[in-house]
Symmetry: C2
């Protein structure tokens, strides 16, 4: 796979695009980004993404949708550096945490991101602030309580290397930050400290630097 031919389709602020971008860079594969927005998909988008979701990875005649499928594919074609643990039970736990991140964590951070940032700041529409408030107060905290019990006191999930599940867990919470939400280090001390360690990983820092410039154009 030549670095210059890989295209990552999807706006860099998507938690799923950010996950794949991080896996690509961590495995030494650079990418061009086509920042397609989920709210205005190009006509015929289902031809490259049958579920009409971002991201899609395009590499020559390979067209691959679904962030988890893409990350498993990257692990298959470029096993080093590994982003899944080698022990089968650990691998299963990593995949389960990725699933929790991609479902419950995304579902309960999305209202904060969409109402307070996408609607209020980007689209300059009337936001449904009650919807964001409900997520922040009622539905997100139980997910964070669960994660507080799952993350390590030191290092990343499975030691000192970056796992797909690490970026999957951080990614939706970066979206919540666009809506002014931070994981409280008083209420969830272990999780907050862990997320800081993931965010400080040099590859994650590089992905976030690329994203920042794009986000500023959106909020202009």
């Amino acid at each position: 796979m030549s670095a210059s031919t890989v295209t990552l389709v999807g706006v860099p602020l998507s938690p799923f695009v950010r996950k794949v971008a991080t896996c690509l860079l961590n495995k030494g594969m650079d990418y061009d980004n086509d920042p397609v927005l989920p709210l205005s998909l190009p006509e015929g988008f289902e031809k490259i993404s049958p579920l009409r979701k971002i991201p899609v990875l395009i590499d020559g005649d390979l067209v691959l949708p679904d962030s988890s499928v893409i990350c498993e594919y990257l692990e298959d074609i470029r096993p080093q550096p590994a982003m899944l643990p080698s022990d089968p039970k650990d691998r299963a736990h990593a995949r389960f945490l990725e699933e929790v991140a991609d479902t419950k964590l995304v579902e309960n951070t999305a209202p904060i991101f969409i109402e307070r940032f996408v609607h209020a700041v980007v689209l300059k529409q009337e936001p449904d602030l009650a919807r964001a408030e409900k997520a922040e107060r009622d539905t997100l905290p139980p997910v964070l309580d669960y994660l507080e019990s799952q993350v390590p006191v030191t290092g990343l999930l499975f030691g000192d290397y970056l796992c797909t599940a690490d970026i999957a867990l951080l990614s939706p919470l970066l979206n919540a930050r666009y809506g002014g939400f931070e994981v409280s280090s008083e209420r969830w001390p272990q999780l907050a400290a862990y997320l800081k360690r993931v965010e400080a990983h040099p590859v994650v820092a590089e992905v976030l630097a690329r994203e920042r410039a794009f986000a500023q154009t959106l909020a202009a």
Copy 2:
């Protein structure tokens, strides 16, 4: 993993439980079944399944939720017979079809199964027949149109061996059958013929034989 100690938690009529049951038997691992119903989960179920979903695989101190995570785990610990293709692009396509099955296909067959079978036959409640009708008429056909373009003219998805995606695709359509829906061999000839081949696989036939006795007690 000793056969006698593995417990598959979840009612056998769940499309996700059926998927895991098939993978277990296909890999030569027998299981006890604990037929927990999604509508009446035991108290504290989130301790073994944080997303409160079935199935859960229990093997000694290993407690593993999520059907896709379980099937990947089984592939990791018992690679033969393989239920994922070896080519990375094929593996990615298999995982994507499994994702389509587990999301769009389940979502659009569930109303048919739940209203016409669970509500009408099992619980003897007033079913919302309009909801089932809408799925059958409007939302399920586009998914079947897509699958008609994806399945092979002969054999199973990746040749003559059973892949996790094969059973994932059949499984929700078996649920729709409880609600009286059959994939029309006139409208979707390639898909209908393919599904018959998956259903005729001896391991699938064994899983369905076990399920039948349980289903009859439900409908009594």
